[in-house]
Point group: C2
Chain length 159, copies 2
C-alpha cells in the first residue's frame, strides 16, 4: 500500500516536472504559439492606430512597460505610454503595418524583431510612408495574454 502511494506521488512529480519544463517556450512548437499570439497582438496594434485610439494602443502594453522612441527619453508605464501615443497620433500617424521577422524567448518573456511601415499625414498635408525596424520584448500577463513590455525602434536607411 505504502509503495503504491509512493508510486502515485512519483507519477505526480514526474507530471509536474514535465509541465514545468514544457512551460518554457524554448521548444519550437511553443515558440510557434507565442509568435502567433504576437502576430495577433500586432494586428490589434494596427487596428488601434487606424482608429486613432491611444487608450487601445496603451492597453496592449504591460502596466510597467517601457517605450524608447528615437530622440526621446524613456517612457515608463501605461499612462505615460498612452499620452505619448496620443501625441504621435496628433502628429499625424494614420497606420502602422507591423511585420514580424524573428521571435524567440523562454518562460513568460519573448523578444520580437520586426519591421514597421508607418503612414503619416499631418493635417493639411499629403500622406507619406516611413519604414523602421524594431525590437519588442513581450511579457505574458497573469491573464495569459502577451503584452508589449519593452518597445524600441529606429529608422531603416532611406531607399
Amino acid at each position: 500500500m505504502r509503495s503504491r502511494i509512493c508510486l502515485a506521488v512519483c507519477f505526480c512529480l514526474l507530471v509536474s516536472l514535465f509541465v514545468s519544463l514544457n512551460g518554457a517556450p524554448e521548444k519550437s512548437e511553443d515558440i510557434a504559439q507565442v509568435r502567433a499570439a504576437i502576430e495577433a497582438g500586432n494586428i490589434k496594434f494596427g487596428e488601434a492606430v487606424r482608429k486613432g485610439d491611444a487608450a487601445a494602443i496603451a492597453a496592449l502594453y504591460s502596466e510597467d512597460a517601457t517605450v524608447l522612441p528615437p530622440d526621446s527619453a524613456m517612457i515608463k508605464g501605461r499612462e505615460a505610454i498612452q499620452a505619448s501615443w496620443n501625441g504621435s497620433l496628433q502628429m499625424g500617424i494614420k497606420d502602422a503595418v507591423l511585420t514580424t521577422v524573428e521571435v524567440s524567448g523562454a518562460g513568460d518573456y519573448a523578444y520580437e524583431i520586426g519591421k514597421v511601415l508607418l503612414t503619416i499625414q499631418p493635417a493639411g498635408q499629403a500622406a507619406l510612408q516611413q519604414t523602421a525596424k524594431y525590437v519588442v520584448v513581450w511579457k505574458k500577463a497573469a491573464s495569459g495574454s502577451w503584452q508589449l513590455h519593452v518597445d524600441i525602434w529606429n529608422s531603416l536607411p532611406a531607399k
Copy 2:
C-alpha cells in the same frame, strides 16, 4: 525495501523539480546574478571598444546575433557584426560606457534596458560625446556565458 527505493526516487524527482524551477531566472536572486553577468559583459564591451578591437567586441555576441543600428539595415551573424563594428571604430568611436537601467527575463534569455555614453573622435578632429539608450536581449550560451543576442539603440534628446 521497495518503499525505500520509491522514497529515494521521490526525493530525486523533488530535487530535479526544484532545479528545473530555479533554472528560470525570474526569481529576484537569479535576476541579480544575470544582471551581474550582463554588467560584467558590458565592462568587457567597453574595454574592447577602447582597444579598438572589433573581433573582441564581436566575440561578446552570439553566433547568430542581430544588431540593429539607426539608419542601417539589420546586421545578422557574428562575422557581419565584426565588420560593422570595425567600420564604427574606423569612424572614430573611442569609448562606450554602458549603464544598465533594467534587467529581467526567464530561462536562457534576459533583456537589458540601458544608456550608453559614446566618445567619438574622427581623425584630426576634437572628441565629442553622444548619449544613446538601448535594449539588448542577452542569451545564455551552452558554455554558460551570457552573450548579446539582439542589440538595438537610438538617440536620447540633445540636452
